[in-house]
């Protein structure tokens, strides 16, 4: 799965990845267009990037008219990331997206690390997150997934995951970028391999304590090994974000490797498993 904000409009990935059947989370879409933050927007740190894009996006209407149809035609499984200034805006986004043909699911952006100063609904407590999820769930068909994206903050991850799960989220994404500072002091989000251990810990904790909650892992996935580490920690899937900026083929490689793993597992399963005591011929 392509992480939000790291796949452009989707078209830019076409030279490097087979888009047909690819799960892609769009950059976070707001009701009205947003110009985004000032440059520079991305800074390099050891094994990481700090980003402060500020949710530049063309707004829902333009997205529905141009970007979504293109993605659907290309065969992309489109998960629209939504972010709003109020619970009402989240609900409105969900309502209009529920009617748009080709939306596979939603991902709820529950407060980006670079949002300070932006006009966005502030998610401070788990019940804020739960209220947003409940409002979105009410407007979006139950047979399509709604993922809630959380920060990989160990002190909040479990209660946050429980709250959004109880409010109707189909699963949680753990996680978002880690709140950080840009070199000039503006708020930003740290991503890339630098945050992988942090995200892995959160995934492990949530899946151990809340076995009913499906977790999608994210944070520095840069190849099959990191992806497998997230699956080993209990995640059901992974998102690839910042690694695409460094190597746009990353998502294709991860996808192929995990599909191979699955095929191997299946083969083992059909053969009775590699160390199945019943396996006598």
């Amino acid at each position: 799965m392509v992480a939000s904000g790291c796949g452009g409009t989707g078209r830019e990935l076409a030279p490097y990845v087979d888009l047909d059947g690819l799960d892609l989370v769009t950059r976070s879409i707001t009701l009205d267009a947003r110009a985004g933050g000032a440059a520079p927007r991305v800074a390099e740190t050891p094994s990481g990037l700090v980003h402060a894009v500020g949710h530049q996006n063309p707004g829902l209407e333009h997205f529905l008219a141009t970007e979504l149809p293109w993605l659907v035609r290309a065969g992309v499984r489109v998960h629209v990331s939504v972010v709003g200034a109020s619970i009402g805006e989240y609900a409105e986004l969900a309502r209009r997206l529920s009617r748009a043909p080709g939306v596979a699911g939603l991902e709820i952006n529950l407060g980006s690390p670079d949002q300070a100063g932006e006009d966005l609904f502030e998610v401070r407590e788990p019940y804020h997150a739960a209220s947003v999820v409940a409002a979105v769930r009410r407007e979006f068909p139950a047979d399509r997934p709604v993922l809630a994206k959380l920060r990989p903050d160990l002190s909040r991850a479990v209660e946050g995951a429980r709250a959004v799960h109880d409010a109707g989220a189909s699963g949680v994404v753990l996680g978002d970028a880690v709140p950080a500072a840009m070199p000039d002091g503006r708020p930003g989000g740290l991503c890339g391999p630098a945050i992988t251990p942090v995200a892995l810990r959160c995934v492990r904790e949530v899946t151990a304590l809340l076995p009913d909650v499906e977790v999608v892992g994210a944070g520095g996935v840069d190849g099959p090994a990191t992806a497998r580490a997230f699956l080993a920690a209990g995640a059901v899937g992974v998102q690839v974000g910042a690694a695409l900026l460094h190597d746009p083929t990353t998502v294709a490689r991860v996808r192929a490797a995990l599909a191979d793993d699955l095929a191997d597992d299946l083969a083992d399963d059909l053969a009775g498993g590699p160390d199945d005591p019943e396996r006598t011929l």
Binding site: E12, R27, A242
Partner: protein, 270 residues
């Protein structure tokens, strides 16, 4: 202005050469040279856990050679990434994505063209000059730099340009001074219909204004800092003023880096 499909390949450094303050690298990167247009760049990954890519102008391509298709880039070592690149030995492998970005738009008619290139950024103007000459355009090339060490080869430039002039800030070679201050005179002398520029933002802005003053077209090659170079991250915003007067932010890497000078909202840029 048509866009070609880029490729992502592992390139191999075939040759390196020091020229003044710069390092020229010849890289075998199958798929890139064949698709190249002047003004395209490549995004290269550098080592040591650095995730942002380093965009570099493509200076020259050879579609056929003993080692297959190759491209040349000119690196000025200054920060960690460019220093890493400049120290690459022959035989090193580097991930290369390209060709990227919108290239220079070429005039349909054989009109008079002035090309202004500053420092290493003059690199994309050499293949542009060759293309313009093929189209019968008289080409005047102005190479500018702080000093002689930062001047791209004027000798080589004379092969594709009718006239080549040199401006250095310290006067070590050519005319002494700041190229931005001389643009008006240069355009006048060449009776320019189109002006192409690559260099610092200040120079590009001066060229755009000078071109507009005399009603010439301008195409500027912007070096907005880029994290990916491929259009994925929205990390390279450029404010442009559309025909309707509304300012929008486009991405330098995919909507540029070559942009009509009169469209750039220079005051809003970085």
């Amino acid at each position: 202005m048509t866009r070609t499909t880029p490729v992502h390949v592992v390139g191999e450094v075939l040759a390196t050469k020091r020229a003044g303050a710069y390092r020229h690298l010849t890289i075998a990167a199958p798929g890139v040279p064949e698709r190249f247009r002047a003004g395209n760049f490549v995004a290269i990954s550098v080592g040591d856990g650095r995730l942002a890519r380093r965009p570099l102008w493509i200076h020259r391509v050879k579609e056929t050679g003993a080692y297959g298709p190759t491209l040349d880039v000119v690196v000025e070592p200054r920060g960690p990434g460019s220093t890493w690149l400049a120290e690459l030995p022959v035989g090193a492998h580097v991930p290369v994505t390209g060709p990227l970005g919108r290239p220079f738009a070429l005039p349909r008619e054989p009109v008079s063209c002035v090309l202004v290139g500053e420092g290493y950024a003059a690199a994309p103007l050499f293949p542009l000059a060759a293309r313009l000459r093929e189209r019968g355009c008289p080409v005047s090339l102005v190479l500018a730099a702080d000093d002689e060490a930062h001047l791209l080869s004027a000798l080589e430039a004379r092969r594709s340009a009718r006239s080549v002039s040199v401006v250095t800030r310290d006067g070590s070679v050519g005319v002494r001074g700041d190229v931005a201050a001389q643009v008006d005179a240069v355009l006048e002398r060449a009776d320019a219909d189109v002006v192409y520029a690559a260099g610092t933002t200040a120079t590009l802005a001066a060229v755009a204004v000078a071109a507009e003053r005399r009603g010439a077209w301008s195409q500027v090659a912007l070096e907005t800092p880029m994290a990916c170079g491929t259009g994925l991250c929205q990390g390279c915003p450029v404010p442009v003023v559309a025909e309707d007067g509304v300012t929008r932010r486009v991405r330098a890497c995919v909507d540029g880096p070559v942009i009509r000078g009169d469209r750039v909202h220079w005051d809003g840029l970085g």
